[in-house]
């Protein structure tokens, strides 16, 4: 078996591994010997169970899925955007639950001003939901890390999802990486013409974002016909 991208065998001359969605993982992980359906089932378990178990078990689930992700050999540095998103999500959860959460007499108030009353219980509730969401999120990321789009196709076929539907889902996951590349290519082209995202206000950023969608659509629809012809020619 080729050693290219095998977990734990880094160093010179070894390929960096497979691109898993927007981050990098080894081509061959510790989980690759499992059937694709088992790998998907492990991810789905964390994804679903996170919302069914109490808080303490939620932390155990989150820790477990992070350990599994680490065992898969994922390049954590390439997942920086996930951590940034998670930190923002935690902040928004604490704020929304802290400010909007219901108030009862026996709660411990830690901050009070005008109509705003932040209690320890509501903050803990926000934290609990964040932990649940993280378990769910990393369950999905685990699937994307240890499964290729072909693995997804196989696992969907194994649970008797109609062929055209499993093709669509597998194509979607495959296509997303390509669309990201195209989108970043458009963004880079615009940056090279002087676009500075940091100088844009929120409204300008939104306008730019909408304007970005049109060329992306045009680009992808051009490719679509070629993809369909290729699919037909392969039967």
């Amino acid at each position: 078996m080729s050693e290219l991208g095998h977990h734990g065998r880094g160093g010179e001359g070894v390929a960096p591994g497979r691109r898993a969605f927007m981050w990098y993982a080894p081509s061959w992980t510790r989980f690759s010997s499992l059937s694709p359906l088992t790998r998907v089932a492990i991810g789905i378990f964390f994804n679903v169970a996170s919302y069914l178990v109490p808080f303490s078990l939620g932390i155990v689930l989150l820790t477990s899925v992070l350990i599994l992700m680490h065992l898969s050999g994922v390049k954590w540095k390439t997942m920086w955007f996930v951590w940034v998103g998670n930190a923002m999500l935690l902040a928004s959860f604490l704020v929304s639950w802290g400010v909007l959460g219901s108030y009862e007499q026996n709660m411990h108030v830690i901050f009070e001003w005008w109509l705003i009353r932040i209690t320890l219980e509501n903050l803990l509730f926000g934290l609990m939901f964040w932990v649940r969401m993280m378990s769910a999120l990393f369950g999905t990321l685990f699937i994307l890390t240890v499964c290729t789009d072909a693995d997804l196709l196989v696992s969907l076929r194994l649970i008797h999802i109609p062929h055209f539907l499993s093709m669509i889902v597998a194509f979607t996951f495959r296509g997303m990486q390509l669309f990201f590349d195209d989108m970043f290519a458009i963004v880079e082209a615009q940056k090279s013409r002087g676009l500075d995202l940091n100088k844009l206000s929120l409204l300008q950023k939104f306008k730019w974002f909408v304007a970005l969608i049109v060329p992306l659509f045009v680009l992808e629809f051009r490719k679509m016909e070629e993809t369909a012809n290729a699919a037909v020619s392969r039967g």
């Binding site: 919302y51 219901s102 769910a136 194509f171 629809f221 016909e225």
Partner: protein, 193 residues
């Protein structure tokens, strides 16, 4: 001169277009997370794409909207919640698709009548239906602290963000690219082909 009749039937191109459309919806959903601050996450540009998908690709577009939104919601939600919440997107694609076919409106929004049909049947009515479904599902999954937050904060926010975003994203896209899409094999004139 006799009119050239093109036989329309569902084919591989429609499977591919569903995958492309759902992939684009998912990618744009993820990009929203990356480029826009999290506190304005109620600005969800893909809502404008659901209508476009339904109008251009009929039943395939509705399927694409559902799959695309489910996949993009997987970045934060469990698959059960993502799949349940995405039911609202079915109506956001289905209602415009039905209205544009029923009233024979041009997807390129050539006349003011087409624009009005879009505003009512692709924006306000689907936005309202989506508002009834999406936040309610969030509430039953325990994401909303209480009923007051559901009725007075989340539902109005959901509705207004939908109503503002859909024309901002959907109308330029329809105007700019409908002509090209309608000439392609992928365009679905009826529901399946």
């Amino acid at each position: 001169m006799s009119e050239l009749r093109i036989e329309r039937k569902p084919g591989t191109i429609h499977v591919v277009v569903t995958a492309v459309m759902s992939g684009l919806i998912a990618v744009i959903g993820y990009m929203t997370h990356m480029f826009l601050p999290h506190f304005v996450i109620s600005i969800w540009p893909t809502t404008g794409l659901f209508a476009v998908a339904g109008i251009w690709f009929g039943a395939w577009g509705i399927l694409a909207a559902y799959i695309g939104n489910t996949v993009s919601c997987l970045s934060a939600f469990p698959v059960t919640l993502a799949a349940a919440q995405s039911v609202s997107t079915i109506f956001q694609a289905l209602i415009p698709a039905w209205a544009f076919r029923r009233f024979k409106a041009n997807p390129g929004l050539k006349t003011s009548r087409d624009g009005h049909i879009f505003m009512i049947w692709a924006n306000i009515i689907p936005g309202f239906v989506s508002t009834l479904i999406g936040p309610t599902i969030w509430y039953f999954f325990g994401l909303v602290p209480n009923l007051d937050s559901l009725f007075f904060i989340l539902m109005p926010g959901w509705f207004f963000s939908n109503v503002v975003i859909t024309p901002l994203v959907g109308m330029p896209l329809l105007k700019a690219t409908s002509d090209a899409v309608m000439k392609s094999r992928a365009y679905v004139k009826r529901w399946l082909a």
